[in-house]
């Protein structure tokens, strides 16, 4: 029987479409989690109340931030999940090598980020509409144009994809040794407590503000892309040495 050959990108493409099918459950859980967030948001994310002699004012804030927060959590968990053994074994049932397996995973996570972000932003608008319909009282809302909407989606995509890259990297570390399941939270909270006890600006907060407080969009994008690339490259090079189906 004659041999056939295939290049990397063809394989990545096939693996990618395979993964969309295989991980369809991830998208249904996304919808569930966003609906849940929407439900929580409906109670308002914050409120201010004041009163005088014969009047009282109660201001409630509604926002879809919680939906985005839940989406980030979902993205993180999804990224970790696809680094686990059963998922890697599925790839190796069919044609792949480790690089194509990782590249198709990254493409899948990018797709998940895009879908998650769009639905999260749309959920925010849904919240606005629902508030208008269901709540009595005066509703004030900042009207956003289509441009802001697109911008909002884009920035959210960067955040979500950023989180998946962290998840993928952490998931990969756990594949080397289960010790990381303990080590990573210990490091995470350890530095927080240590910095707090030493009364200095916590390191992780600095890291956080480095990304989130960036006012120039282009700089933000560059920072995220570079970090994402570093995490994924590190994960790929670790996974490249990993044996499967032992």
């Amino acid at each position: 029987m004659s041999l056939t050959s295939i290049n990397l990108w063809e394989t990545v493409k096939k693996q990618y479409f395979f993964k969309l099918k295989a991980n369809i459950d991830a998208f249904s859980s996304l919808i569930g989690i966003q609906l849940l967030a929407l439900l929580f948001s409906f109670g308002g994310v914050g409120s201010v109340g004041m009163g005088g002699g014969n009047f009282s004012i109660n201001i409630k804030y509604y926002s879809a931030d919680l939906v985005i927060g839940f989406t980030l959590l979902w993205a993180f968990v999804t990224a970790i999940t696809i680094t686990t053994k059963p998922y890697r074994n599925h790839d190796f049932t069919f044609v792949t090598n480790r690089l194509s397996s990782s590249l198709s995973n990254i493409l899948f996570l990018l797709t998940a980020s895009i879908v998650g972000s769009i639905t999260a932003i749309l959920a925010g608008n849904l919240l606005k509409i629902l508030a208008h319909i269901l709540l009595d009282g005066q509703i004030y809302s900042i009207n956003t144009g289509i441009q802001e909407l697109v911008m909002g989606v884009c920035v959210t995509i960067f955040y979500v994809f950023f989180v998946t890259s962290i998840g993928y990297f952490i998931g990969t570390l756990v594949q080397i040794s289960k010790l990381f399941i303990i080590l990573i939270p210990v490091l995470f909270f350890g530095t927080l407590f240590l910095d707090a006890s030493m009364q200095k600006e916590p390191f992780l907060v600095n890291v956080f503000t480095f990304y989130t407080m960036e006012s120039a969009l282009s700089l933000f994008i560059i920072k995220v892309i570079v970090t994402v690339a570093v995490f994924f490259t590190a994960a790929i090079s670790i996974l490249n040495r990993m044996e499967v189906r032992r």
Binding site: L3, I6, F18, F92, V95, R98, V244, R245
Partner: protein, 300 residues
């Protein structure tokens, strides 16, 4: 052409040596049986060939390339065992479609026919199948993919006798129609010996021998007769197996390098000469126990 070539192939896990300087090669379009006791490294060897795991030292070449992380080896080979895993979200009939997307020689028609013959439910899922059904389904993937190198590692686990028979026949028919290199690992040589052209016997991670099944059938003989006559004949030879019957009768298996003259002489003094089943011979050759099971009970 040599499809697989191993030289001094060694695999260790921590300090345990699983494969110990294994050297052999497998020719194109032959069905080779990989035979050995449980836990002698058969699966490890096959997983190295499939590129799943890395050799510790030595050299392994599949289609003249190192299999680990090799896309072309992955494309042209398939590894079938009962641990094969499929995404739980994809129904069985769709798994066949997915497999067809990946494997260039995939025969949709064959896959479908086998799928229907073994009455699989298209809407069912792989993780809901029983042990035997899992093996049957995996076997369908293995056959229909028509990979130039097809590896079956204990493919009949959990299958009942009728399905096993069907599998052997399906394998042979498809092999005749589309010759390819097939490795069948099993510890039941008696069931698969008719299918095989070559046998590779492994013991403790080492190669015991590799020969054609017809050579193997004539490699040893069994001698049965009075103890003194048989021991006289086998003097200076390694007795691979012996068993006592009654008071003064012994059955001994030795390598067959007797001349026809000597065998005739033995017959005349009443020694029964018989051929030894390849499966029995492999059991004798890979025996890891000292003496026989009877000795365990005789110690008292």
């Amino acid at each position: 052409m040599r499809v697989i070539e191993c030289t001094d192939l060694t695999k260790t896990y921590l300090r345990k040596i699983v494969l110990d300087k294994l050297s052999f090669s497998i020719e194109e379009n032959k069905i080779t049986g990989l035979i050995g006791r449980n836990g002698v490294g058969k699966t490890t060897l096959l997983k190295i060939i499939a590129g799943f795991i890395k050799e510790t030292s030595g050299q392994v070449k599949v289609f003249s390339e190192r299999p680990y992380n090799n896309l072309n080896v992955s494309l042209n080979s398939i590894f079938v065992d009962d641990q094969m895993s499929f995404p739980p979200a994809i129904p069985l009939s769709e798994i066949l479609t997915v497999a067809g997307n990946f494997y260039p020689n995939w025969d949709r028609e064959l896959a479908k026919r086998l799928f229907d013959y073994f009455s699989f439910d298209p809407k069912s899922y792989h993780n809901r199948l029983s042990k035997g059904k899992t093996s049957t389904f995996n076997m369908i993937i293995g056959l229909a993919s028509r990979c130039p190198l097809t590896i079956f590692d204990e493919p009949t686990t959990g299958m009942d006798a009728a399905v096993r028979k069907d599998f052997y026949r399906a394998l042979l028919k498809d092999y005749i129609a589309y010759p390819r290199t097939i490795i069948l690992s099993s510890h039941h040589l008696d069931e698969i010996e008719d299918l095989l052209e070559d046998v590779l016997l492994i013991k403790d991670g080492k190669k015991q021998f590799q020969m054609s099944i017809s050579e193997l059938k004539e490699w040893a003989i069994g001698l049965k007769g009075t103890t003194e006559e048989v021991l006289n004949l086998t003097d200076g030879k390694e007795i691979l197996f012996k068993e006592y019957f009654g008071v003064n009768t012994i059955y001994a298996v030795v390598k067959n390098d007797f001349s026809e003259f000597l065998l005739n002489k033995a017959r005349l003094v009443g020694v029964e000469i018989s051929s030894v089943q390849p499966s029995d011979l492999c059991v004798y050759l890979t025996s890891e126990t000292k003496g026989g099971i009877d000795d365990v009970f005789n110690k008292h």
